[in-house]
């Protein structure tokens, strides 16, 4: 059952969702994730699921919202500008407390952008983009296996939090092939009785119930709305403690610390190995959850030992903003980045990092 298989990223994402108990998928074609609606269109019917090709990403997120309101476990995917269109619906789903699992196989924006790897949607997914005060947990896997495990578990996280969850990947992860171990298939609950048991808030009709469910976003009185927003943020405070995930690798007491996630973290891991072999103590903080952002590994750094913290990213300093927030001026911070779909080589990062170290000495 748990044998190793070689899979393309976008298809592995789908298998992870289906095996995680998802039987509803909604999507609209956009590169670099078009294999996802393609795979789901033939696989969902075979697995007793439902595939809907929407008319737009506005359609995608709102059909997903309807599925989730009715108690279905729903997965929706898109890429950057499509995610932008969905953000109206994400804000609405947060407000109405409806769980949706959303995958962004991101492009290299702004505007139309390109399909090569980038991380320029960092603010888009971690800072909202939709209206009002809300938060969405965001996970950024760095290997295919990690992506599978995260997607597989996201449905449960979304259900428990009664909130959307975002997975942030890029064109590299969507298109590359890696050996993976697929998890065991969870059985989805589909009957009304099962939905009512596991999601007592969901819309299934009033028969067989002693109450009438309503899912709302509109609170007419400011006092009621304030109360509701405070309630949401009590949930988010709990999520900040329970959902934070990261990995630290490299030397103890590093003099140079890289911060990188997703595709970049794979390259930085090689850079660290080379530096450590050369006798330069290097380490990496790899955030897996981008919200909540892991602050603890930054607090653990010693300004006496660590000379610099370098945000290594495929965007113009978006990750750096959270790095600076976490370092709080205790240690100098720098940026090593490429954008527009260009991924730096190990050597380029190595040279730029050494130059930064030289300037600081």
């Amino acid at each position: 059952m748990s044998e190793k298989v070689l899979m393309k990223g976008n298809e592995a994402f789908c298998e992870a969702a289906i095996r995680g108990g998802c039987r509803f998928y909604v999507g609209y074609p956009i590169t670099p994730q078009s294999e996802i609606p393609e795979y789901m269109s033939h696989e969902m019917p075979k697995r007793g699921g439902t595939f809907v090709q929407s008319e737009s990403e506005l359609g995608s997120i709102n059909i997903s919202y309807g599925i989730a309101c009715a108690g279905g476990n729903v997965f929706v995917s898109s890429a950057s500008p499509g995610i932008a269109l969905m953000q109206e619906g994400m804000s609405f789903a947060c407000s109405a407390e409806v769980p949706i699992v959303i995958l962004n196989v991101s492009r290299s924006g702004p505007g139309i952008g390109g399909i090569q790897p980038a991380q320029a949607d960092y603010f888009q997914v971690t800072r909202g983009g939709g209206n009002g005060d809300y938060k969405i947990p965001v996970f950024a896997p760095s290997t295919m296996q990690e992506a599978i495990d995260i997607i597989y578990n996201s449905f449960e996280i979304a259900d428990q939090l009664r909130n959307p969850v975002i997975i942030l990947a890029d064109g590299m992860m969507g298109q590359m092939m890696e050996p993976v171990v697929l998890p065991e298939e969870k059985q989805p609950y589909k009957t009304e009785a099962e939905i009512t048991k596991y999601k007592p808030w969901a819309l299934t009709g009033t028969k067989n119930k002693d109450h009438r469910n309503r899912i709302v976003s509109y609170w007419a009185k400011p006092e009621e709305l304030e109360h509701h927003i405070i309630h949401l943020f009590e949930k988010y405070a709990k999520a900040e403690k329970e959902l934070v995930r990261y990995e630290t690798i490299g030397a103890e007491d590093p003099e140079i610390v890289f911060v990188a996630f997703g595709t970049m973290a794979r390259i930085v891991a090689e850079v660290i190995e080379i530096l450590n072999n050369e006798g330069i103590k290097a380490g990496m903080i790899r955030p897996i959850s981008l919200w909540p952002f892991p602050k603890a590994p930054f607090e653990a750094l010693s300004p006496e030992k660590t000379k610099v913290v370098i945000s290594t990213e495929l965007s113009m300093g978006q990750l750096l903003a959270d790095v600076e927030n976490s370092v709080q001026g205790r240690i100098p911070t720098r940026l090593i980045n490429r954008v527009g779909g260009i991924v730096p080589t190990t050597n380029e990062i190595l040279e730029r990092a050494k130059k930064i170290l030289g300037e600081l000495k």
Partner: protein, 249 residues
């Protein structure tokens, strides 16, 4: 003794928040009494829009959710895919359905979604205070067309029922009015037909109600009924535009 008039269990015994003379109350009553007569209150799910009737779930005695502006047919699509044997409806005004939500309603019809949309057309944005809508009539005054709607500036009002009837996935499309007792009886028949089409799984169904907005039209409730008869019905003719019942083999 047989009662002449009774409240429906489909509506909760509470006051609505709608203005005097507004058509929402009558439309709510018609729709919910039809669902009650079909014995489907327990397995019906509704979607309310953005607009005055966002709060329809406070009055309609079925499970409901709110939806973002114009997106109700997409939301109803999702609900119906999870509960294919339930009755699922969206309830939308002309700003919601005929402007910001055209894509969603057109594609729900294109996919032949087995949902029913109730479209309340009063030719103006009510909740936001009387701005021009896509169905505002030529010459009709609104807060964004104070000298009356001009076709050369504002375009020509859209007839949604006629447009949707051209789509093969639409199985039942009828326009009714709420201005006279006779029209209200016909409206009830239309709602029964649309729900029957959904129960039979024939495709997308929609009933458009020519309604009134005395507050934003600047008329009394009685004059509003007259205005609707003299101005709206001639431009938005009543009748059945699509009915595929009987076509099934």
């Amino acid at each position: 003794m047989k009662p002449l008039y009774e409240p429906t269990e489909g509506l909760l015994p509470v006051d609505t928040s709608y203005c005097a003379g507004c058509g929402h109350g009558v439309a709510h009553k018609i729709i919910m009494s039809c669902i009650e007569e079909k014995g489907r209150l327990g397995d019906t799910i509704g979607v309310s829009p953005i607009g005055c009737s966002v709060v329809a779930h406070q009055f309609m005695n079925v499970e409901m959710c709110e939806s973002a502006h114009g997106r109700a047919p997409a939301v109803a699509t999702g609900i119906k895919r999870v509960h294919p044997n339930h009755l699922v409806f969206s309830y939308q005004g002309d700003g919601d359905l005929a402007s910001i939500g055209v894509t969603e309603v057109v594609h729900a019809a294109v996919r032949g979604e087995k949902i029913t949309t109730f479209f309340i057309n009063n030719a103006i944005y009510g909740m936001t205070g009387g701005q021009m809508s896509p169905t505002t009539l030529i010459g009709q005054r609104s807060t964004t067309s104070i000298d009356g709607r001009k076709p050369e500036i504002n375009g020509i009002p859209i007839r949604m029922s006629e447009l949707l009837a051209t789509i093969d996935g639409a199985a039942y499309i009828e326009r009714v009015a709420l201005n006279t007792p006779a029209n209200i009886r016909k409206a009830k028949k239309a709602v029964m037909n649309a729900l029957e089409v959904q129960e039979k799984g024939l495709g997308f169904s929609l009933v458009e109600f020519i309604s009134t907005c005395p507050t934003n039209w600047g008329l009394t409730p009685v004059d509003s009924l007259k205005w609707a008869a003299e101005n709206m019905i001639p431009y938005y003719p009543l009748g059945v535009f699509k009915d595929t019942r009987g076509d099934e083999k």
